[in-house]
């Protein structure tokens, strides 16, 4: 087990290195000149050239990458004279667009994304698994049909429209909630909830749909398993059979998918964050793409990759915990 984790982590680090290299290579292959993007009204060749030097894109891609790698361990220094400053280790570089070290930016935006993800995750698991279970237990009845309709609608709706619909109806037309204005929960928990409840709901409604289907189908499938029939044949009560036999079997794939979904959410829920103006990592990432802000782009990509890789490892371990058949001997 220990060796298994060590091996997975070793590969994870290799993978992250590869991700950063690929991001650099892709970026350098883009037909966009980041130095030309911010030169404003004075967009003359000499200004662009100066800009390129300032942003560090005049160096070879290999050198840029080396500086990036070095920065992670020893930090990076910028500018000279009075204009000098540095980004301490672990440094992913400095964003000249946002005038902050990338590590600072990620450190600031990540908690927002994390709160969004965790809350939405809890909600969607409750809604999704709950409604899936109700549907499975009432197969063919109105509860099932309602859940099916919810699923069909839920999986086909684009986040953007659901988000706007929720936002417009609850905030603007009905005026039940003020416009979401993110505040850290440590600062003002009530305001925090006010800001988060709608994005949570939006993400939950959309993601819950597939979990409803997953739970329903998983449970129905499990109900047809011989071992569930054996459970009933033993004389176990319905609730025990449902919990230990049906749910347990249905939960295995759900946990796997939920883990990966959660991880990709931690990498930034771009659309939800945009619609609800949450200053999270998804917005940071998308902005870095639009503005060709390489350090932020690489930083957010790597952080997302870390979560996805971590989630994969955790899901693998969880899988072993949940399903003895795949447990490492």
């Amino acid at each position: 087990m220990f060796l298994f984790v060590v091996r997975r982590l070793f590969f994870a680090v290799l993978l992250l290195l590869a991700v950063s290299v690929v991001t650099y290579l892709l970026f350098s292959a883009l037909p966009v000149d980041p130095a030309a993007l911010t030169c404003g009204k004075n967009c003359k060749p000499d200004i662009i050239a100066a800009n390129r030097i300032r942003l560090g894109y005049d160096k070879s891609i290999v050198e840029q990458y080396w500086l990036f790698l070095k920065g992670i361990f020893v930090g990076r220094d910028y500018g000279m004279g009075q204009a000098a400053f540095s980004c301490p280790a672990p440094s992913f570089g400095y964003s000249f667009a946002q005038h902050e070290c990338v590590t600072t930016l990620i450190g600031r935006t990540f908690p927002v994304t994390a709160y969004l993800s965790i809350g939405a995750f809890i909600m969607w698991m409750i809604i999704g698994v709950g409604s899936g279970a109700i549907a499975a237990l009432n197969k063919g009845k109105w509860q099932d049909r309602l859940a099916n309709a919810f699923t069909a609608v839920g999986v086909s709706l684009p986040t953007f429209y659901v988000g706007l619909l929720v936002l417009f109806s609850v905030v603007i037309w009905l005026g039940i909630l003020p416009f979401p204005d993110y505040v850290s929960p440590l600062e003002d928990p009530i305001k925090f909830l006010n800001a988060m409840i709608l994005p949570w709901l939006t993400l939950a409604i959309l993601s819950a749909a597939s979990y409803t289907r997953l739970t329903r189908n998983g449970m129905l499938e499990a109900m047809n398993e011989d071992f569930v029939r054996l459970g009933v044949a033993k004389g176990l009560s319905r609730s025990v059979v449902l919990r230990k036999y049906v749910m347990r079997a249905a939960m295995v794939p759900i946990v796997t998918i939920a883990g990966l979904d959660f991880a990709s959410l931690l990498g930034g829920a771009i659309i939800t964050e945009s619609v609800f103006s949450l200053p999270g990592m998804g917005k940071l990432a998308i902005r870095s793409v639009v503005e060709s802000d390489l350090p932020v782009l690489v930083g957010t990509t790597l952080v997302s990759a870390v979560f996805i890789v971590l989630a994969n490892v955790i899901v693998d371990i969880m899988y072993g915990v949940l399903d003895p058949r795949v447990r490492v001997k």
Binding site: E225, R229, A233, K234, G235, S237, P324, R325
Partner: protein, 341 residues
């Protein structure tokens, strides 16, 4: 013969399922009695209704889609009409079941020891932990699992097919049930393992005195294990006989075909096998009259009777065999003697 007391009485059991395509009549008007210590075999091919019958005896069919009529009496309780709590008390204690596929019959998420213990505890809530553990080890030893103390903590996937079926049997017998329903208990196993499991079941029957209802498609297994046999076709019993009588003078054309197909496989001669032509009917749309008539080469001997009138199960022939066939007794005996061995 049947002087012992009956432990299971089935009267006019009919089971149908509502499906999107229509109503499936899986079991029609089935009656039989199972006595203490007896072994009754039910033989039939897929779709004959034998597995549905087994499930009905413990009310395991889907309560939403299945409709059951008739009576299934176990320990004085009509399983079909009793409350859920009453049926639950019977399940696992009075009547237990062994399933076809030991690979899927055990819950993969719990240790085998836990699953045996669970079956015991539900009917012995007063038992202490030590008592339960002792019982688990006792049962594992009884079904021939070496090193039970260690293996109780292992998961089903760590056991071979045969060993898993032994665990299933241990679970079934942990509360000393009076009835054991074995639904194709060896079909999924290799022949050498099949022999082990059949031996085990019979040995335990001698020890516990339980009645066994053995459901199988394999006439070889029936011949080795059962005392009385019901032959089912399209949801109905077409022949009911003592096992020796069945093999000596089978009294139904379907039984003839079945025995013929098996017998010719048993001999080494290469050449044309005797078969039953055609395929079993759809339970959604059973043939009129005798359900077997489209595949029966003797149906024409009875004029149109076979296509219009459902034959009743009556005693036919020199032995105590019952058969549901319109053919005259003499004709049945004549052919039956040729087919039998």
């Amino acid at each position: 013969m049947s002087s012992q007391k009956p432990v299971l009485i089935v009267e006019n059991l009919s089971v149908s399922f509502a499906t999107p395509d229509g109503i499936v009549h899986a079991v029609n008007d089935l009656s039989f009695v199972l006595h203490e210590g007896e072994t009754l075999g039910i033989v039939g091919e897929s779709g004959s209704g034998k597995s549905v019958t087994a499930a009905s005896l413990m009310r395991l069919n889907n309560s939403v889609t299945a409709t059951s009529t008739g009576r299934v009496v176990v320990a004085g309780v009509d399983v079909l009409s009793a409350s859920e709590a009453d049926v639950r008390r019977l399940r696992g204690s009075e009547i237990a079941m062994v399933f076809q596929d030991p690979m899927s019959a055990l819950n993969p998420y719990y240790t085998v020891g836990y699953q045996i213990a669970e079956a015991y505890e539900v009917h012995h809530p007063e038992a202490s932990k030590a008592q339960v553990n002792a019982k688990v080890l006792e049962m594992m030893t009884k079904v021939g699992i070496p090193n039970p103390a260690q293996r109780a903590d292992e998961y089903p996937h760590q056991f071979s097919g045969g060993m898993r079926q032994r665990i299933v049997i241990a679970i079934a017998l942990v509360n000393d049930p009076k009835i054991l329903i074995a639904d194709e208990p060896t079909t999924a196993l290799d022949v050498t393992v099949q022999a082990q499991i059949l031996d085990l079941m019979l040995a335990l029957q001698v020890e516990n005195g339980m009645a066994i209802l053995l459901i199988t498609h394999d006439l070889g297994v029936i011949a080795e294990v059962a005392r009385d046999v019901l032959v089912m076709y399209a949801g109905r019993v077409v022949e009911k006989a003592d096992v020796e009588d069945l093999f000596e003078i089978p009294t139904h054309p379907y039984s003839w075909g079945l025995l013929g197909a098996v017998a010719s496989l048993e001999v080494s001669s290469r050449g044309h096998l005797r078969t039953i032509e055609g395929t079993p009917p759809s339970l959604l749309n059973l043939p009129s009259g005798c359900a077997f008539h489209p595949r029966c080469s003797f149906a024409s001997e009875n004029g149109s009777r076979c296509t219009t009138e459902t034959p009743l199960l009556v005693q036919k022939g020199p032995k105590h065999s019952f058969s549901a066939c319109h053919l005259p007794v003499e004709r049945i005996v004549e052919i039956g003697q040729k087919v039998g061995n």
